[in-house]
Point group: C2
Chain length 763, copies 2
């Protein structure tokens, strides 16, 4: 019986058998990934219980006290994650509100004095400075902090260890960059960066508390494995959404539905605890802010669009409008994803060239955005102020609902109220009830088109940029527009249509169901709307799934993360494991010469090696002899084999061995996983995937059906299950009738079949 030996302690950089140089030209297959537009090799994480002698001895030596410490530490870390993430979220909100608020007030005051040129100059220059700052720190300090971060975290939780995504540098740049990017009036969100921030904080706390804070107690070594870190990162991403939207339950469900690949009910509980901490801390801060201690603009920062109304009644008449909202939302959402994917590919070509190009791109987008935001409101007709409003109209000297812009006194510019405002305030305006007459058709339409394209153009620049808020604001304007078209034929007010529109575009773009539903409920505090939101989400997701994947899946694919899906592609049933496994395989013997091992590690960059005992040591070539009497823990402690924090593992090149040591033999048995999971080579790939995915493996040994040959046929890694890899080995399958059916975007003719073809994958 073959066994694997695991080289993580010696940290070979790659696990696949093909050697890939560190900076190869970008490719979208699965060996490398584009993280922060650098091309990086991809490793898998280790979730398998690695049963070697050392591990077993370590486990047995743990006392009650250590286990108690371990448990307590886990909860303490969850508490800390919740606390720190909510603090960061609060500071983030506060900073954005105040920076953007001051900018808008200064500009508006100049507009009041009719100094329009000066106003534009101040507005665009301050935007430019903020945007450039965000993109420069990202480009120079931490390229992995660019974009939303949700795809990276999602891939990490699937077992893809993209380098550098959880470093301290990335964290700092993500927080600061997100604040300045959002403040610079770019149409980018803060929810995605908050998720990445939360995951980053969790990962740093889980691995590096020891490094930075001098916490070197024994118990910290329990967290030196990927399973514990995975749990913490899941909690961190839940906390991120909870802090961004003030939606604790939504955060847990987001982590569950969108982020996590493996889930246990204990994890549900722990992430619930984390988001509860977030909810309580944020709640305290909100109370603080309502008492006016958060600066001029600090009260509206923690998103909560209260659209409660005592009696929402709707009848059958509203159903067609709501269904139409869902269908169009689905179409728009998939179009959004399609265009974003294309734009990202173009941007990648630009970003590859040099850092200067990256910065230039950010510079262009910022100027373009400023021009649009400042220029478009001139197109709108001024509206007279409503007679009965609790707010001042026009708003002067603060950021508010009724922007005066270029209008005469007692009038306001409705388009400026949407476009010349922070995104939060725009959403609040769109969601507001009792404002059915506030907006003109043309204004909402212009705003919708602007948001739709700006959000697509803005995401790809080299700066932290979320997708949630842009999609919400675009969807809300679209929904409001539909509501205005339906007009008095419906019982629902325009604000509720805006909520439903936001839901439909979110569903069409992100393809979540329960979590989006709960997040929207928590944002709007209106449970009576629930059935309609559910319908809209279902319809829009169904429609959009007929065209392409969720936005995060597209980005993950573009970045080259080898994400392992739960379901097997149909052609995987046609292939057996033996059809994809490749040789030649590098083996070790149970007693192996050190020089050999070093040579193999230096030249191959594999990560797992079968360990075979040949006849001289045992009865027959297929056996693994028993581990003998050496007590390995005398020579090594289990901590030496603990997984290092990301990015600081030892390289084999760093280990200096004398010539004499190279000639010695080492008994690998104590370090060898004596009971790896195995599959027989005739098993279908689909069935092997089930094992690989459900148990969360890094290597899966393939054993022969017939004995007499080598005791092991090969090793499967996650790359062997990737569609690109399989289809390159078996090109005929590309044309098989079993591949996924979906329409390409330009051709809409096969709508019906495309949808069904998709479901086929999910049964």
């Amino acid at each position: 019986m073959p066994v694997t030996m695991h080289a993580s302690e010696l940290n070979a950089d790659q696990e696949d058998s093909v050697f890939v140089p560190l900076l190869s030209p970008p490719n979208s297959t699965s060996q490398v990934a584009i993280v922060g537009s650098n091309v990086c090799p991809i490793e898998s994480l280790d979730y398998e219980i690695f049963e070697n002698e050392l591990f077993k001895q370590d486990w047995r030596s743990r006392g009650k006290m250590q286990i108690f410490q371990y448990t307590l530490m886990k909860w303490l870390l969850c508490f800390l994650i919740g606390l720190i993430v909510s603090l960061v979220g609060f500071c983030n909100n506060l900073a954005v509100e105040n920076i953007a608020g001051i900018k808008f007030v200064v500009t508006s005051n100049m507009m009041l004095e009719s100094r329009y040129g000066m106003a534009f100059l101040v507005f665009s220059v301050s935007n430019l400075i903020l945007a450039l700052f965000a993109s420069m720190i990202t480009a120079f300090i931490a390229p992995a902090a660019a974009g939303s971060g949700i795809p990276e975290v999602k891939a990490y939780l699937n077992g893809v260890d993209a380098p550098d995504i959880f470093s301290l540098r990335t964290l700092v740049v993500k927080i600061v960059g997100s604040i300045s990017a959002v403040s610079s009036s770019l149409l980018v969100g803060k929810a995605g960066p908050m998720v990445h921030t939360g995951a980053c904080i969790a990962s740093l706390l889980g691995q590096g508390g020891s490094k930075k804070f001098g916490l070197t107690w024994n118990w910290l070594r329990f967290f030196k494995n990927d399973r514990d870190r995975r749990d913490l990162v899941t909690c961190g991403s839940a906390a991120g959404i909870a802090a961004a939207f003030h939606a604790p339950v939504g955060g847990v469900l987001f982590a569950l539905e969108e982020m996590a690949s493996w889930w246990r009910s204990a994890l549900l509980w722990r992430s619930f605890f984390t988001t509860a901490v977030v909810a309580i801390v944020l709640r305290a801060f909100i109370d603080l802010c309502y008492s006016g201690k958060c600066g001029l603009f600090g009260t509206g920062g923690l998103i909560m669009y209260d659209v409660y109304s005592e009696t929402i009644s709707y009848d059958l008449m509203d159903v067609p409008a709501v269904l139409a909202l869902g269908v169009i939302g689905g179409l728009l959402g998939s179009l959004h994803n399609f265009l974003l994917d294309k734009v990202l590919k173009i941007y990648n070509l630009i970003n590859e060239k040099s850092v200067a190009y990256k910065i230039c791109l950010a510079w262009l987008i910022s100027i373009f955005t400023s021009c649009l935001l400042f220029g478009l409101p001139w197109l709108a007709k001024c509206q007279p102020c409503p007679a009965d409003t609790s707010e001042a109209c026009p708003t002067i000297g603060r950021s508010g609902n009724y922007k005066k812009f270029q209008c005469p006194a007692d009038q306001f510019n409705d388009l400026a109220s949407l476009i010349f405002n922070t995104n939060d305030d725009a959403i609040r305006n769109l969601f507001s009830k009792g404002t059915n007459d506030e907006f003109q058709y043309s204004s909402v339409l212009i705003f919708f088109v602007t948001c739709f394209f700006l959000s697509i153009l803005s995401y790809g620049i080299v700066a932290p940029a979320g997708l949630f808020v842009p999609v919400i604001v675009t969807g809300a304007s679209y929904g409001r527009f539909v509501g205005m078209l339906v007009g008095s034929k419906s019982n629902l007010n325009h604000g509720l249509y805006a909520v439903l529109g936001a839901a439909s575009l979110l569903g069409g773009s992100m393809r979540m169901t329960v979590s989006l539903c709960v997040i929207i409920l928590e944002l709007t505090n209106n449970l009576l709307l629930l059935p309609l939101i559910m319908v809209v989400l279902l319809v829009s997701k169904t429609v959009a799934d007929g065209f392409n994947g969720s936005i995060y899946d597209l980005i993950m694919k573009a970045k080259g993360f080898p994400y392992l899906e739960t379901h097997a592609e149909p052609y995987m049933r046609q292939l057996s494991v033996g059809d994809v496994v490749r040789g030649p395989l590098q083996l070790f013997h149970g007693i192996e010469k050190v020089g050999n091992i070093v040579h193999v590690l230096r030249t191959t960059r594999h990560n797992g090696f079968p360990v075979i005992d040949e006849p001289p040591l045992s009865e027959s070539p297929i056996l693994f002899g028993d581990t003998g009497g050496i007590d390995a823990s005398i020579q090594f402690s289990a901590g030496d084999f603990a997984k290092r924090g990301s990015g600081n593992g030892d390289k084999i090149e760093d280990i200096v061995l004398t010539e004499e040591e190279m000639e010695m033999f080492i008994d690998l048995h104590p370090f060898t996983n004596a009971s790896p999971y195995t599959v027989v080579e005739t098993m279908s790939l689909a069935k092997a995937l089930m094992l690989f995915r459900e148990v969360g493996l890094r290597h899966l040994l393939v054993i022969p059906k017939l004995s007499g040959r080598s005791p092991v046929v090969g090793i499967l890694t996650r790359h062997d299950f990737m569609a690109e890899n399989i289809l390159s080995l078996h090109p005929l399958l590309v044309r098989s009738r079993w591949k996924r059916l979906r329409f390409r975007f330009p051709s809409l003719r096969k709508l019906f079949w495309g949808t069904s073809g998709y479901y086929l994958m999910k049964h």
Copy 2:
């Protein structure tokens, strides 16, 4: 390489090697389970992809049209499940409201005329008749319909195939019995029975549409496997909670957190769709009822306790009270579970004796309940009617808030308003705001104590009986009592304390987090309370987990279901697979004599058999020869091997074979799973459990570490992973330091260690 042959098509009744007679004396080990107080053998469900030749040919022969039909059919079934469950839920509510309403009005009218004796007679006799009806149909027609049904469904979704729980008889008895049991003023809920009803409907639709409705199209055969049925049953149980509480999102989360053992995001989506259908249909019915078409008492039936208030403010002062609420709720919840477990054991002794004893027990409990409900309100002092109330006081001629009972005019009996009322109305009264002066300390305390013990005594009778509503009503009275004690020191009104109290007792008894949180939010329509509810749930669950398991786990254990947990017990790391696997193993040869097979199937009652090719047929004894050229699909169609509906499989005894046929040989290769999952005998039990549980197996082949012996050491089934089984094989482990630490209830001294010991299991 050994392979398994699977005898499900010949339906041997049991899989374990020990022969257990069908009606052995009840035991709580894992071979048999008590379903409806009959002792039944337990089978596992088949979730593994069973890769034999027939299956592969069947898969390849499916065309696009069939796959499309399959997909469409799945969604159609989800829609039907949602539709039917919501109809049943609505009828259930309507019937209960009207039957109980008429009963209370008739009784109250007699009380008005001071005919107290007659009122008691009518009240207790009508209760008795309803309770006896419920218990008699349960005892005589479908014993499996007794109790909540949630433990059975939960076990089913874990892979435990308890017989008879999803039959049509059970469904009908569950619905009718639940209506009459709830109407009879027994303190039993309707949520649990609704979950069972939903699961039952889903299972029947998934398996038997063909039988009952003449739907014999080809595509129905796709649902003849356990994976598809599992998905449908999950959707059905989500629909059950959604219909019972009008909580669609809560239903999905309940199915996810409490019910399902395996979960995929596709399933999340499908159950979301199902509960959306429920929400929409119920919403339409509610609108219908508000227009007065549902009988006199039909408007309040669909639970929705709106406790919305514009501004809920709470500060640090409220935190200690809320924490105390959580801690006491946790203690009460675990005490509730402990007592319920004990009472169920006593009841089981009674129920075993004969059906007459069962009915007698129900009879006694009903009379006892009637006496308490009618007698206790006399203890309460009459209260003057409040001056400013929108409701009539006292309520006359309808079921309402201010019960007159024995009081003079213009006064009301506050205890009667709680106790002499339907549970829904009692909860509504307790949750109501602006009623801080309505209840006296003594009344709420008496009500709490009554509910606490009545709910424990009532659950075990032989009738459909849920646990949710009794726990909510008990918790609400406890919370209200705490709120009254805290009084004006708190910013929260007593109604909100009642909500938090209900949350704490639910958390302490059922140990769910996210799903309870969302269910409570959906019940009360108040999102501002969210942080407090989260805290209360976390605290009460943490405290209660230190003492015992969740109520459903206790009931499952008492019933003897071999439920497979996700996490491994610590001692499983100390044992290897070889330590628990038992022989002798029954093998088949690749070409086997029919008579042999029939003999083995008749005598052993195993369910899976390794198929070995011995030297004459192949090179060495460890091989499985290839399957040769016969085209098995000529002789059999895959449908012949499809899993039958529960309870109607063929028995081996039913197959009549001539003497000549018995002497023939059959080639088993085409029917044999040629690539089973295997583990090596030295693998730790914990690691094998991970494979078994995550992939959802029924059999797991154990292969030897050293070759030369038989190619297969044994087969692991779920029973081999049960604690009772392992500890009986290795009694020393019972005293090992690795077993789960928890206090026994009478001794509270090790609180700290007990709690931590529990977490150890969950890391």
